[in-house]
């Protein structure tokens, strides 16, 4: 029963994520792109739940669909979009983009399906918060402190860059 539910949930959220991602790229107005981005990132959070990454799913909702989308909306509202300009690249570059993306996708799918992955006997399904917290304060202590420094520098830099003077 849970298998069936998990399979259905995977396909539903995978399709929503892909549709949201395509919406980001294809939407004519930037604001609609931002709304589609919310859909894509929210579906990704659901995919994390299916991968039994509960903590990451919460972080995804808080940081991405919360903070990053709000930041993007602020940027959209602070920079009035001129409607008469073309929002898409000229046809040739558009075609080039499609070809590059499809070629890369074919390459990656071929690599994924041909690789004999050393699968674990049992998928890792345990609560993650304890393990992640312990890891952040032991093995990954230095990257953790570095990440806080990166965020601090980014915050100060963003204030300096966007300040009016």
């Amino acid at each position: 029963m849970t298998e069936v539910v998990a399979t259905i949930a995977f396909w539903v959220f995978a399709i929503t994520a892909v549709v949201g991602a395509l919406g980001v790229v294809w939407a004519k107005r930037v604001f609609h792109s931002a709304m589609f981005l919310t859909v894509a990132l929210g579906s990704t959070a659901a995919i994390y739940v299916l991968l039994s990454a509960d903590f990451l799913a919460a972080v995804q909702i808080l940081v991405y669909t919360g903070a990053v989308v709000i930041l993007v909306l602020f940027a959209i509202m602070l920079t009035p979009q001129s409607v008469e300009l073309p929002t898409f690249a000229p046809g040739g570059q558009q075609l080039g983009g499609v070809i590059v993306a499809l070629a890369l996708l074919a390459l990656m799918i071929a690599a994924i399906t041909n690789q004999p992955w050393p699968l674990a006997a049992q998928p890792l399904d345990q609560p993650t918060s304890f393990g992640l917290g312990q890891g952040l304060l032991t093995t990954y202590l230095f990257p953790f402190e570095l990440a806080s420094l990166v965020l601090l520098v980014a915050m100060i830099g963003a204030i300096l860059l966007a300040r009016e003077d």
Partner: protein
């Protein structure tokens, strides 16, 4: 229950849509959103690896190394989004445009 390959292919599809967006759109804000999509595809891949693969013995003491990577990717992506959008606002103030075709002062 979908296996490792389905999740990896989903990550690859989202990554490639992000690349297509980054190459074909002309608005800096949309370019940044496409970048976020690419990072999301990578994160799905990392978390899927974490769930389905066994790390080689002795390499990592934490069973959640893949999720830890994804966590750091999210942290750096948040910093990147904040800085990128601050640059967009600063450029808009000077050039009054957010179209990458018109921000070409450094073009050789």
């Amino acid at each position: 229950m979908p296996g490792l390959n389905q999740f990896l292919i989903l990550g690859a599809i989202i990554f490639c849509i992000g690349i297509y967006g980054a190459l074909s759109r002309r608005n800096v804000v949309v370019l940044l959103m496409a970048l976020e999509l690419m990072l999301n595809g990578v994160n799905i891949t990392l978390v899927a690896f974490n769930r389905f693969l066994t790390p080689p013995a002795g390499v990592s003491s934490s069973p959640f190394a893949g999720q830890m990577f994804a966590l750091f990717v999210i942290a750096v992506a948040a910093a990147e989004a904040a800085l990128g959008l601050a640059i967009v606002i600063a450029v808009y103030r000077v050039r009054h445009t957010v179209q990458v075709d018109q921000i070409d002062a450094l073009r050789g």
